[in-house]
Subunit: 200 residues, 2 copies
């Protein structure tokens, strides 16, 4: 039923390569020729496998989103330590990844910045991903508030949305920042604002 050789390249790895290219140069800035060369396959294989440039782009975004969402949810729900400690660790990781020198920012944020005004399909997908992040943050915040680790007068949903916006803003600013100082300040301020009491 299937004579002939198997695919000579790993499809999922090709998606990762495409993701990195889109990440670095954006959708418009990444040409079909660039993708061919980077992935190392011919154009026919590329179109046979992925259909179109846009489909490959959406697939790259989906893969990236799955990874990021999974990582954040896992980090926020780790047992054994306090919820606030989980939050601190996750925010620290985000700062390290997206706030350092030469950062490309978050691929999702870059996608939002480049989305066309009438691209409702992509907008809906991105909304969904952001909702997932927001809910993970909200669960963690509720738990931390229950344990008295976070000011109890805050609205968990508002604070969660704030953290999502903050993460995206930090990642965006990281694209033009000249060092990790700014992003460290941002995370420090976010955590300080959550703490119930403090004296310098």
């Amino acid at each position: 039923m299937s004579p002939g050789p198997q695919k000579s390249f790993d499809v999922e790895e090709a998606v990762l390569t495409a993701r990195d290219l889109f990440w670095e140069r954006g959708y418009d800035g990444t040409g079909i020729r660039d993708l061919e060369v980077a992935i190392g396959i011919g154009r026919k294989s590329l179109y046979d496998t992925f259909g179109s440039k846009r489909e490959l782009y959406l697939r790259s975004l989906r893969k990236y989103a799955d990874t990021v969402i999974q990582s954040i949810c896992d980090g926020l729900e780790r047992e054994g330590v306090g919820a606030l400690a989980n939050l601190e660790r996750v925010l620290g990781k985000l700062q390290k990844h997206h706030g350092s020198d030469g950062s490309l920012g978050c691929l999702l944020g870059v996608a939002i910045g480049q989305i066309g005004a009438d691209d409702e399909e992509l907008a809906a997908f991105l909304r969904g991903v952001l909702d997932g992040m927001e809910q993970a943050f909200e669960r963690c915040l509720r738990e931390a508030m229950g344990a008295g680790e976070v000011r109890s007068d805050l609205q968990p949903r508002d604070a969660a949305r704030q953290l999502v916006a903050l993460s995206q803003g930090m990642a965006l600013l990281g694209r033009v920042s000249d060092g990790p100082a700014r992003s460290r300040s941002i995370i420090r301020a976010a955590l300080a604002a959550l703490r119930p009491v403090s004296s310098s």
Copy 2:
């Protein structure tokens, strides 16, 4: 010394038109043909006046930044009311402008999202603009803290950077949000986090 007619179009108004086009469609998405039609001048005049597409883009960004920075600084330094009230008003204005439905986000944020990895000239300009916003926020925060309107245990610089990141993040998310609820949450949380005491 200057025979011949005056320029038949308003240069500054042309920059505003170009700004709106870049804002709506991004740099790559805006073609020279689009700019001609929108501004209403021929291509020769366009190149004679502005030099190149990129120069017109930079000029648009500069004009936008001047307007925004001016507006924020004026709003934050208004006398007669408390510094926190000024901050609340400015953040509310940002939310109204960038967080509503169909928002295009902040042009500066969009530019950051679309900047090329090796475009140091544009990156330096954007860094400068963000620094200006940060300093304006920091001055306002210091004043508010001095008046006891804001928790005194916060670091003004960290909090100012947080507000810049938050503004950019909110404006970015506004591009895919389906209503003003999210951006309102974000601003509400930011202000709640600054307040020294509260018992909802």
